[in-house]
Symmetry: C2
Subunit: 317 residues, 2 copies
Amino acid sequence: MPAVEVLIPRSVEEEFPGRVASVDPQIRVRLVDQDGSVEGAEAPRVLMRGNIRNEAMQRLLEEYPTIEWVHVSSAGVEHLLPLLEGFGGIVTNSAGLYAEPIAEWVIAMMLMHAKRLRVLVERFERREWQGVASEEIGGKTLGIIGTGGIGTAIARRARGLGMHVVGMRASGKPSEHVERMYTPNGLHEMLGLSDYVVIATPLTEQTAGLIGEPELRAMQPSAVLLNIARGRIVQTEALVRALEEGWIAAAYLDVTDPEPLPPEHPLWGLPNVFITPHTSGHSPLSSRRVLDFFISNLRRWLQGEPLRNVVNLERGY
Amino acid sequence: MPAVEVLIPRSVEEEFPGRVASVDPQIRVRLVDQDGSVEGAEAPRVLMRGNIRNEAMQRLLEEYPTIEWVHVSSAGVEHLLPLLEGFGGIVTNSAGLYAEPIAEWVIAMMLMHAKRLRVLVERFERREWQGVASEEIGGKTLGIIGTGGIGTAIARRARGLGMHVVGMRASGKPSEHVERMYTPNGLHEMLGLSDYVVIATPLTEQTAGLIGEPELRAMQPSAVLLNIARGRIVQTEALVRALEEGWIAAAYLDVTDPEPLPPEHPLWGLPNVFITPHTSGHSPLSSRRVLDFFISNLRRWLQGEPLRNVVNLERGY
């Protein structure tokens, strides 16, 4: 049987190349540098795309037309679609593999808001023994836009904390842990009854700019918006106005438009905003989850079975 | 039927006196001021103790020996035991009625630690787009000392977030949501295998100073101690040394010894401590929960049924 060359980024953890190689004696692992240079590859058939620059990836695909399958280590692939336009092979993504830390981020931010942790930190730092009025998240309603792997992981935890959970998905299909599911037609209704709204949908042509002035005005003035998906799903100017004028109470954002958010951007200065730098999915366990997933897909691929997490390049996720 | 005079604090919410009065036509509500003065009481039989000073309460009990039943609006009563020494009636407490907000506080603090929210807040305030290594709480082990109402509320939520939960209680009896229950003999074993340890036991002669040097040294250097019970359950000097010398990683305290913690106390200055001012039980829903509980107990009392949450004054809870 001929060797199967698999390209994986050099930046992965030490034991990863060995684990990939041990999947099958046919496998030859070739390490790719950030700039796309590879040593010793002749006709690689698989590329695991991790910490490789966009231009480098494009060059790799041109240089090695033998590549049949690209696995992307991020959950969203919308930023790679232009690079993949001419690519005729299979693309798989890592959707769902960051769900656990992202869902914890969402719970952390809702509690940060309800318990007013930023005020408590300030008082602690001044050594003040003085409480602040706080709320419970139990009994509150969380509306989830997009109930895929991440949305479901959020829903499960929110239910465990005694919240009511409603959701919106394109198909409107019911989902475990979601008490009431809306279609996009019901978005405004869902926004109106939610105390917290979290965006957990892929960025596509349909969802770009989905949350604008009418949607923000449909929310309650006491409601909180959280975004862990992509910054461009929210119309940033409308969000700034909503926060300045009190259409909503606060926003907790792990993603922004643009990214990184420049220091002079008005979002930074608002008292009712908190921003983290697109790191909600970071976890010491993430790279291992991606590798485990890639390896199980590699086994399927070698055996001619259908791959999991195949991206529909037309649809964009 | 003779009138039944019920003393309730004047500081309760507006509709409370009316709701108490509506329980039965016999009831006459008398409002007590913070200083213990009451208008129009002749032979009151019930005292709901809320925001009334200790001396005032003692005076009330002496002035009105007709009082048969005192309901205390706090969960713990150890601070009232000296005042109740000569009292021959029934004392009930509000144990369990603060469980929901306290359990949310515990989850909030574990996430604050795991997600390194204080570092993220600092970076946000400097408008820095830079992440920080963070962890997941899912998969970690939470050890709960005391699995009554509050401990159980914590356990349920922690399980919903994918944590392993072990517990310690005097009886060692199994409890739902707790995967493994220890008796006090197994405390050190439980401490050694927990990533987070939360103290949720009443302050009694048995639990005062329960967590000292041997217990803190039994914990893992990466472990986190949380206390929402009473400050005196932890030996403060040993805790300061544990935090300074790295026997444990951090402490999140809603209660301290003494309280309020004076500004010059060394605990404030440690980089691995966070303190809130005994407010983890605060919630807009708390006073209503206490009133609802008191009213249901009042119905039982009028019908001669056994009361709930009767305090064993010998045992202290």
